[in-house]
Symmetry: C3
Subunit: 274 residues, 3 copies
C-alpha cells in the first residue's frame, strides 16, 4: 500500500511560504504522507468558491484526508469566532479538516453528509502557541496529518453535534414551464459564469443541442447558443453549456461572460428556448 | 526501488484546479506515484514552446512516464480532431503521453525516435464520460498513470503507424562561409530569444569568445558581443551566447532582446563576426 | 521510515521550468526523495528576504537537507565569485546547501551555528559541463540529493574553515529607557513591515496590550496601536504586532505600511508608548 494521501486547497496563494510551511508541519507529524495540491488560488476569503471547487475536485481525488483553508475569520474571538472542525462523511469515509464556515459542506454533501464531526480548536495535535493569524499551520495541518497517520477522529478533537455545523448557503435553480430559473454561483478566472443548475436541469428545460436560447437578466435579454464547446460559436458570442463537472455555465468565446452580462454572484437568470 | 515517476508539463497555469485534479486522477490509478511538475506556465496553446521546454527538461528527468498537455484543439471533431497518443522512444525506453500535435516530438527525437506508438482516445483507461474540454483529466492523466503502474503500451490504446504521427515543424539553422543563418524559435519570459542553432554551430561560424558580432534582421544590422554570460556586457547591450541547454540565444543585459530587435517567431537572423 | 526529505527555497519563480528541472536532477540522484517547496517567490536576487524566510520556515520543517538558491552572483568569476557550500549545523544536524552569500546563515544561526562546512563548487556530484547561469541544476540540487541519499558531507566537497563563510549582515534592535530602536528588515507581499525586534523586545519596551504607541521615522511621528491582530484596529489604521513567527511587525489594516510610512529596508524606527 502507498503512503497516505492528503489533499490541500486554500486561498494562501503562491507568493508566500504559507503553503510550504504547512507541508513541513504535515511531514513532521506524518512522515512520507503524499500531498496533492488541489489549488491555492481560491480568491482570498471566498468561501463559496473554495467550497464548490473542493466538492468538484474530490470526485477525482483518492481516499485521503482533505485539508481546506479559506478562513476570513481566523483569530476572531467572541461572537465572530468560528469553530475549527474535522468531519468524517457518511459515504466513502472521507475525512475533511478546515474552518466551520461552510467551506467543507458542499463536499460533505456529495459524500452523503456527516457521519461524525469533532471540534479541533483545542486539539491536542495543535502547535503551541497557536497564532492569531495562521491556523493552517497551527491547527488544520497538524490535525490533518494526525488523521493521515491513523489517529481516530475522536482523538483529535471534541465531539460535535452535526446540527451545530454551519451550512453553506447556496441559491437553488428550478425548472418550470420550460424556463430555467438559475443563479450565478461564481465566476472563474476567465469570466465564465458557473450556475447553480445541473446538466440534467438543462435537459429538463427542453433545450435542444445547438439551439438558440434567451438569457434574461434584470429585464435585459441576451441571445446565446446551447452547445457543447466554445468552438461551436463565433468569437465574442455567448454560449450556454455543461462544463467538465456537468454543471451549467455561461461563457463568451474568447471573452468574459461576467463582463458581457454585467452580472454578480447570486444574480438570477431566466433561461429558455428562443 | 522507489515509486514510479511521472513528469507533468502543461499550459494549465496555476490559477485553476486543473493540475490538482490531474494529480488526483493519477493517485487513484497509480497510488504512490511521484509527480514532478516540469512547469505549467507554458504560454497558452503554444505547442512549440511546450515541445522545446519538454525536450530540454527531459535530459534531466529520471526514467518516467512523461505527461504533457498543450492542446488547443481539445474536443474538436471532424477534420480538426487530433489524436491522443502514447509513445515509447527507441532510446532509454521513455514513455510520453499527450496530444498528437507535435508537442511530444522534439523530446521523442532526442531519445532516438519512436519505437512504438498507440492511439489512446478510446483507451480503456479513460474516464467516462470524456468531457469536451478536459482531456488532461479524462484521457492523458489516467493513461500516463496506467503506464506508470506497469501496464504495457499495447494495453492502453490501439497500435498506430509511426508515420501517422504529426511532426513538430521547426526552422533549421545553417552555417556557410562564416555566416550563421538562424531563426527565432521562441522568446522566454525575460524576452531572451532562443534560436535554432546549437553551441556547436556557433563554434563552426568561427566566432571567437568575447568577439564583436553583427546580427542582421530584415536588412537592419545590430552589434552584439559573443560571450559567456550576461555580466560580460554592459546594461542594455546585446549579447549572443549558448544558454544552459547548449542552445544559441540572444539577450539584452537587463532588457528584452525581443523588443530590442523587434523580431517575431521564425524570423531569420544572419550572424557573423563584425 | 519514510523517504528522505529535501526542502527547496529559491527566487526562480513559477514561470519557467527551473524548479522542475532541479526536481528531475534530485530524483535521478536520490530516487524517492520527497521535496517540500518552501517557496520559489523570494523577490529576485533578494538574499536577505530569502535568508529570513528560510530561517523562519525551518522551525516547521522535518529533518531534511535544506536546499536554497538566491544567487545574484551565479557564474561570476574572479573577485566577485562566491563559493558554493554545504553546511551541517551544530544543533539538530540540519544540512543546508546553497551559495555562500549569507542566504543560509540566519537558518544556521537558529540551529546553533556551523558544525562542519564544505565548498562544493567542484563537487564530484556536480553535473558537467557546469553552466554559467544555472548552478541550482548543476551544483546545488545534485549535492543536496547526494546528501539526502546518505553521502557524508566530507564526500561532496572540500573542507572549509567556518570563519571563511560569508555572514548575513542584519541591523540590530535595542531597547533603552522604554524606547525600542528597531529597523525594517523587509516588506512582505502585502506591504507589512517585518522588523528586527522580537516579541520579547516589544514586551521589554513596556508596551501594554491594546496601548497607543508612537512610531518615529526620520523625525515624522505616526500613531499606531499595539495589538494582537489586524481586526483590532479600524481599516486604514496602523498597528504594531508580533507576527506568526514571534517577530515584531508593523501593518496597516487593509493597506500597506510600506507605503503609509514611506520607509525602506534598514530604515530606523523609534517605537514607544504614546
Amino acid at each position: 500500500v502507498s503512503a497516505p494521501y492528503i489533499t490541500f486547497l486554500s486561498d494562501y496563494g503562491y507568493l508566500d511560504e504559507f503553503v510550504g510551511v504547512c507541508h513541513g508541519v504535515i511531514a513532521r507529524r506524518c512522515p512520507g504522507a503524499l500531498v496533492i495540491e488541489i489549488t491555492h488560488a481560491i480568491p482570498r476569503h471566498d468561501i463559496r468558491t473554495g467550497a464548490l471547487v473542493l466538492a468538484d475536485a474530490l470526485a477525482f481525488m483518492p481516499s485521503a484526508v482533505h485539508l481546506a483553508v479559506v478562513d476570513p475569520d481566523v483569530g476572531a474571538v467572541g461572537e465572530r469566532a468560528r469553530r475549527a472542525v474535522a468531519i468524517r462523511t457518511a459515504a466513502d469515509d472521507r475525512l475533511l479538516v478546515g474552518p466551520d464556515n461552510g467551506l467543507l459542506m458542499a463536499a460533505v454533501k456529495r459524500f452523503g453528509g456527516v457521519a461524525e464531526a469533532v471540534e479541533v480548536s483545542r486539539s491536542r495535535e495543535r502547535l503551541e502557541p497557536v497564532s492569531r493569524t495562521f491556523h493552517g499551520r497551527d491547527i488544520f495541518a497538524p490535525v490533518a496529518a494526525a488523521l493521515a497517520a491513523g489517529e481516530p477522529l475522536a482523538n483529535v478533537g471534541e465531539e460535535l453535534d452535526v446540527k451545530e455545523l454551519r451550512p453553506l448557503e447556496l441559491p437553488v435553480a428550478r425548472v418550470s414551464d420550460g424556463t430555467l430559473t438559475t443563479h450565478v454561483l461564481r465566476a472563474d478566472h476567465f469570466g465564465n459564469l458557473i450556475l447553480d443548475a445541473s446538466a440534467a436541469q438543462l435537459a429538463e428545460t427542453g433545450l435542444q443541442a445547438d439551439a438558440a436560447v434567451s438569457v434574461e437578466v434584470s429585464g435585459r435579454v441576451f441571445r446565446a447558443r446551447y452547445c457543447l464547446t466554445f468552438a461551436d460559436v463565433a468569437r465574442g458570442e455567448l454560449l450556454l453549456y455543461a462544463d467538465s463537472t456537468r454543471t451549467a455555465a455561461i461563457a463568451v468565446n474568447h471573452g468574459s461572460a461576467a463582463e458581457h452580462l454585467g452580472v454578480m454572484r447570486d444574480q438570477e437568470l431566466l433561461v429558455r428556448a428562443a
